[in-house]
């Protein structure tokens, strides 16, 4: 097979001195699905952004179809038939699907009016041949994420791309949508197009790719044929050491109920009811997991339980005390710890030092706040050092800002702070999002440790493997309600898939 493109000796040094790529060679053949695998920060996205002209490389060469190519902008890349679907979609929410596709390529009728008719005909033919069904007249903001992704791909094909880069395409999809995406990628391959599939999910890379290139810390580890490798071997290449994949999990010994939720209803900021009557109990010494595709009310549920948003109706008992609609500091005093979904929006103040972040939520309490509300820097320092040593945070100084820490270390600071509070219950929302394999393992083992110490853990995650692996009981949330509460060790993948789509499995006879 001829090469679709190749990149040689790519070096990227950012202006702040960060070296993202240290001389990487990468190439893909025509008609293959090539996986680009690596932990967060390995340089996958940077490498592809260079190919796509979004980032300028410091050194190196790019060849497209055998010819040296100088790609200075996404426009140049598109002209060479290279298209990229970014993790965050580049769509205009208020425009229709059709208008989004033709944006930038509008052909004018009589010099004034946009010629939508010709574009629509062309696009409908494309939809027919590719099987990517999209309602062209729907506004993008009304479309589900999976369809928006389709639209992004359609947009690239409309522009004649035959090298298609997908950056973590499955992170926003339901299992069913992932299957659809994969079958579509296979049909692209059959048409002779080249697909680069960026991911850090081993299972998906094994399932869909022909070859895999593994990056680690800005360097090429190896390119291998997928058929000739195993998940374990790839994982080892990614992290440079053996990874324990199955955490050892002791049987749980549930104690008394620490969190009790009854018929909880919550509206989101727009007034739409997103949690429509949810009831459950979490006991001390167990992990209660909530799985489901994101956007089915999990965020509002967590915010309501942690005092960050108002409850419309229903009751929340924390350690036996009614706490619905009480502010966060009251809940913290009742023994709540919260590892929030969004580290940067909720969990940390990035400009604050590590020292100051270590007491966020505790700053008004003894011993950090003494007489007349004067902070005690020595107590703060002691506490911070405890977080650093107990949770092996890699930080140069406690006075360096939280923004200088890596994502994994930021999350360790939050987990450390919350878990050292000695809470009754930990509400952990997407605790391992965006973390590398090692940090993910570590945070998961912490949650298990909390459970074994007799704390209640409420785990909300979009990562199904995470929830099934860690939880003692799990609920599947769909459109604001629990489809069912099941034992994760006794439920089949197929049933889970159905429940993710809102269909409850048949009750066993």
């Amino acid at each position: 097979m001829p090469q679709a493109f190749s990149m040689k000796g790519i070096v990227k040094v950012y202006s702040d001195g960060t070296v993202a790529l240290r001389g990487v060679d990468f190439s893909a053949e025509e008609g293959e699905i090539h996986g680009l695998l690596g932990e967060n920060g390995a340089g996958k996205t940077t490498l592809m952004n260079i190919l796509f002209g979004r980032i300028r490389m410091t050194r190196g060469e790019t060849f497209v179809r055998g010819k040296r190519a100088i790609i200075k902008s996404p426009h140049d890349a598109m002209a060479l038939g290279i298209g990229m679907v970014h993790q965050h979609f580049m769509l205009i929410p208020a425009f229709t699907a059709l208008d989004n596709v033709i944006l930038g390529l509008e052909t004018a009728k009589k010099g004034v009016m946009i010629d939508r008719k010709t574009a629509r005909e062309k696009l409908e033919a494309l939809i027919k041949s590719s099987g990517l069904a999209v309602d062209l007249d729907a506004r993008v903001e009304d479309l589900p994420v999976g369809i928006q992704q389709r639209l992004e791909i359609l947009k690239l094909m409309y522009r004649g791309a035959d090298i298609i880069v997908l950056d973590e395409p499955t992170s926003v999809l339901t299992p069913v949508e992932v299957d659809e995406l994969f079958s579509f990628l296979r049909s692209l391959k059959a048409q002779g197009k080249t697909v680069v599939f960026i991911s850090h999910k081993l299972r998906e890379v094994m399932a869909i790719t022909d070859r895999v290139t593994v990056l680690r810390k800005g360097q090429l580890v190896r390119t291998v044929k997928t058929a000739e490798t195993t998940q374990g071997a790839l994982a080892q290449m990614m992290v440079g050491r053996d990874v324990v994949f199955t955490l050892t999990k002791k049987p749980s010994t549930p104690g008394e109920v620490v969190l009790s939720v009854r018929d909880l209803k919550v509206r989101d900021v727009t007034g739409r009811q997103t949690v429509k009557g949810v009831s459950f109990d979490v006991r001390g010494g167990e992990i209660f997991g909530i799985a489901g595709v994101e956007g089915n009310g999990q965020t509002q549920l967590v915010e309501a339980l942690t005092g960050l948003t108002k409850v419309q109706s229903g009751t929340v008992l924390l350690g036996g005390v009614e706490v619905q609609n009480r502010p966060p500091h009251v809940l913290y005093a009742q023994g709540l710890a919260h590892v929030p979904e969004d580290r940067h929006r909720r969990g940390l103040i990035l400009e604050f030092s590590m020292l100051e972040n270590s007491v966020l939520g505790l700053q008004m309490r003894e011993p950090f706040s003494g007489r007349f509300g004067v902070l005690d820097p020595e107590e703060m320092e002691k506490w911070t050092q405890k977080i650093i040593s107990d949770f092996s945070v890699d930080v140069s100084s406690t006075s360096s800002p939280a923004s200088s820490l890596s994502g994994g270390n930021q999350q360790k600071v939050i987990c450390g702070r919350e878990m050292l509070k000695n809470p009754r219950i930990v509400v952990a929302s997407q605790p391992t999002r965006g973390l590398d394999v090692a940090a993910t393992e570590y945070i998961r083992s912490l949650l298990l440790k909390m459970r074994d110490e007799g704390k209640g853990v409420l785990l909300v995650s979009a990562d199904l493997d995470e929830v099934t692996m860690l939880s003692d009981r799990m609920a599947i949330m769909y459109e604001g309600q629990f489809v069912d509460i099941v034992d994760p060790s006794k439920v089949s993948e197929r049933d889970l898939g159905l429940m993710f789509g809102g269909i409850k499995r048949e009750a066993p006879a």
Binding site: T306, L308, P327, P328, H329, Y332, H338, P340, H344, R345, R346, G347, L348, I349, L350, E351, F352, S353, L355, E356, L360, G361, Q363, M364, F368, S369, F372, G373, V374, L375, P377, E378, E381, K382, Q385, S389, S397, T398, S399
Partner: protein, 366 residues
């Protein structure tokens, strides 16, 4: 265990609460301002060296000049601090002007018409000033959190309310029956004494510096300061951290307004002893504070230095014309020196402006 403790002890280095990077940036920007200003002077056909010599001599050349310079620091230090405290909570309080008038009002009324023993008299005036200034600033904060009125709009309006309230009361209530262009002179027990006779320098500057240090302590070493800065940087994380965001904003505005009012009160108590009925003695001191805070990087200690810098430009700039004139020739005109002041201030503000732009663009990236 002991080893661990030793390591921990080693790491208990005092956290650097002074942002040295900002100090270096601002210093460099000021030097650049002087260089560019010098270039402009040369282009206009004057001698830059002579100009700067005149500036320095005018500001520090004699004990009297130096004392005038230091004296002028007092009000702009406090109005600068006022702006900075609100800015730390991400509030744009440009109402320091009106809040300062509240202090003038308190000093001119209580100072002249209430007889109290010395010591207590001054304290009562400062206390009431702080409350009045804090009140009208908190009003703007309250309008923001309750009604969504942007504080820039409300504080500008309150500036005018403050101005007309002061001049109305000055003309109809507080006026001096013998000389109606001014208010009644305050009682000696209400004054802040001069350092030496024959200058305008009173111990008010000491009070201002103490207020700066107290606010520094407040912002970085107390729970309230922690909360104010947290709300300014990240309101959603603050909410998560159990901080009452709205209440903290109003509190920050209250302190900001109170500090601005101290500026006005101390000008009357330590310098003029009365105010003219058009308030022209104190006009614009509040707005000057915005520039002082920008150059001082919204840091209480930076503001002490930056207010000194502004005071130097002001007193020195006024003297340049006299210092540079020789027999039979007039010196570099005052207008030139005002223009150069402008250039230097623009340059000195660049780091703050870059920081603002950065914050804005980073906010959009997320």
């Amino acid at each position: 265990m002991t080893q661990q403790e030793a390591e921990a002890a080693k790491a208990v280095a005092k956290p650097s609460w002074i942002p040295w990077n900002s100090v270096a940036e601002s210093g460099l920007a000021i030097i650049m301002g002087f260089l560019v200003g010098g270039g402009i002077i040369a282009l206009a056909g004057f001698n830059p060296a002579l100009f700067y010599r005149g500036l320095i001599e005018g500001a520090f050349g004699s004990p009297r000049a130096l004392m005038d310079t230091i004296s002028y620091m007092t009000p702009i230090m406090l109005t600068g601090l006022s702006f900075a405290i609100a800015a730390r909570a991400n509030l744009f309080n440009i109402g320091s002007e009106g809040q300062m008038y509240m202090g003038v009002l308190a000093a001119a009324s209580i100072g002249a018409f209430v007889a109290l023993p010395e010591g207590l008299h001054q304290m009562v005036i400062l206390f009431v000033s702080f409350l009045l200034g804090g009140f009208i600033a908190a009003l703007a904060g309250w309008l923001k959190i309750k009604r969504g009125v942007h504080e820039v709009v409300s504080t500008i309006m309150l500036n005018w309310i403050g101005f007309y309230l002061l001049t109305y009361l000055a003309i109809f209530v507080l006026f001096d029956p013998l000389r109606a262009y001014k208010t009644t002179t305050i009682l000696p027990s209400a004054t802040v004494p001069f350092v030496t006779s024959g200058t305008s320098l009173s111990y008010a500057v000491v009070i201002a510096i103490v207020v700066c240090i107290v606010c520094y302590f407040l912002l970085w070493r107390t729970t309230l300061g922690y909360n104010i800065r947290a709300v300014g940087l990240n309101p959603t994380s603050s909410e998560y951290g159990g901080i009452k965001v709205s209440r903290t904003m109003v509190t920050a505005m209250f302190i900001s307004g109170g500090v601005a009012a101290l500026a006005g009160a101390l000008e009357i108590m330590g310098r003029f002893w009365y105010v003219d009925t058009e308030a022209s003695y104190v006009r614009n001191l509040g707005f000057d504070g915005i520039a002082v805070a920008l150059v001082g990087r919204n840091h209480p200690l930076g503001i002490i230095i930056s207010s000194f810098f502004f005071a130097m430009l002001k007193t020195g700039g006024q003297a340049v014309q006299i210092y540079t004139s020789e027999a039979g020739r007039t010196g570099i005109p005052l207008e030139m020196s005002l223009a150069i002041q402008g250039v230097i201030i623009v340059f000195a503000s660049i780091p703050s402006i870059i920081a603002l732009v950065k914050k804005f663009t980073e906010g959009r990236k997320k």
